[in-house]
């Protein structure tokens, strides 16, 4: 069984703003600027899965340069100090934080997976039988970043059955 997701794009945007304020732009000088372009390119992505009252995925995707910049900001490092492990850990935690907050807005009973990180584009990711239902798309210091939600189509079929 699944319910209609109660998290809309403004909720997602608010969560993303909190992430920027807390970790990526604590000085408030470099916000994520919306582009509303869900087809913007990405080179790396991370995701968490939610199962239960709503089933789907929350995906963080960006260019490699934005991911490196995110790791530097998150871990308080210089850009040239950032390693692949730092990028991977940061992307995973960003997906975890947004996914955890999405889960919190759903009725109780959902489970959040540990994050998966894939240093390949979101468009090549395999989220079988899912449909993108919303997202925040923008540029951060000129680089593309998106946070999107993908709902399982299997649930929709079950609902209709």
């Amino acid at each position: 069984m699944s319910i209609e997701v109660e998290v809309d794009e403004s909720d997602l945007a608010e969560m993303v703003e909190q992430v920027w304020e807390s970790y990526l732009d604590p000085e408030g000088v470099s916000p994520l600027i919306p582009t509303y372009d869900e087809n913007q390119p990405s080179e790396v992505h991370s995701s968490v899965s939610i199962t239960g009252t709503w089933t789907g995925h929350v995906v963080y995707a960006s260019s490699r340069a934005a991911a490196q910049r995110a790791a530097a900001a998150f871990l308080a490092m210089d850009l040239d100090e950032v390693s692949e492990e730092d990028i991977s850990d940061t992307l995973g935690e960003l997906a975890n934080i947004v996914g955890g907050n999405v889960k919190a807005m759903l009725p109780p009973g959902s489970q959040l997976s540990l994050p998966q990180v894939n240093l390949t584009p979101e468009s090549s990711a395999r989220f079988p039988n899912t449909q993108r239902i919303g997202g925040v798309y923008g540029v951060w210091e000129g680089e593309p970043v998106s946070i999107s939600m993908w709902q399982s189509r299997i649930d929709n079929k079950e609902e209709g059955a």
Binding site: G92, N96, I97
Partner: protein, 131 residues
């Protein structure tokens, strides 16, 4: 004066680094663990128990709630101040953690200032340490 010690328990290395940076700035000595089980193993080998533990909820092997429950059941660890630091922000989850023995609850994402304020409320850092 011996510095206070803080245990940072999170399966995310990135989050451990952030928390470690904050507590180190507050003059704590930081000890890291990747899950509740590793934290308990480390505590078993320590002669002096850390004053503070910052604990994620969702971790492999042993989650944060189980860790809090086990710490509270161990008289040797009774004095530790336990702060959950997690994305689990549902009211029912907060109630569960506090009922299990956590002293405070910080929801991710958090700012450095918000974390320091929480620790000040617990009397672990001087009020105004954030300014």
């Amino acid at each position: 004066m011996t510095p206070m010690r803080a245990m940072v328990i999170d399966d995310s290395r990135a989050m451990r680094m952030i928390l470690k940076r904050i507590v180190t700035k507050l003059n704590f000595e930081a000890v890291e663990a990747g899950d509740g089980k590793e934290a308990l193993d480390l505590l078993a080998d320590m002669t002096e128990v850390p004053e503070l533990a910052l604990i994620d909820w969702n971790m492999p092997n042993m989650n944060g709630l189980e860790f809090v429950t086990k710490v509270r059941a161990d008289p040797r660890l009774r004095e530790m101040t336990l702060v959950m630091v997690t994305t689990e922000s549902e009211q029912s989850q907060i109630v569960r953690a506090l009922a299990a023995g956590a002293h405070e609850y910080v929801i991710k994402p958090f700012t450095e200032g918000a974390m320091i304020e929480k620790l000040a409320l617990l009397g672990l850092v001087p009020t105004g340490a954030n300014s």
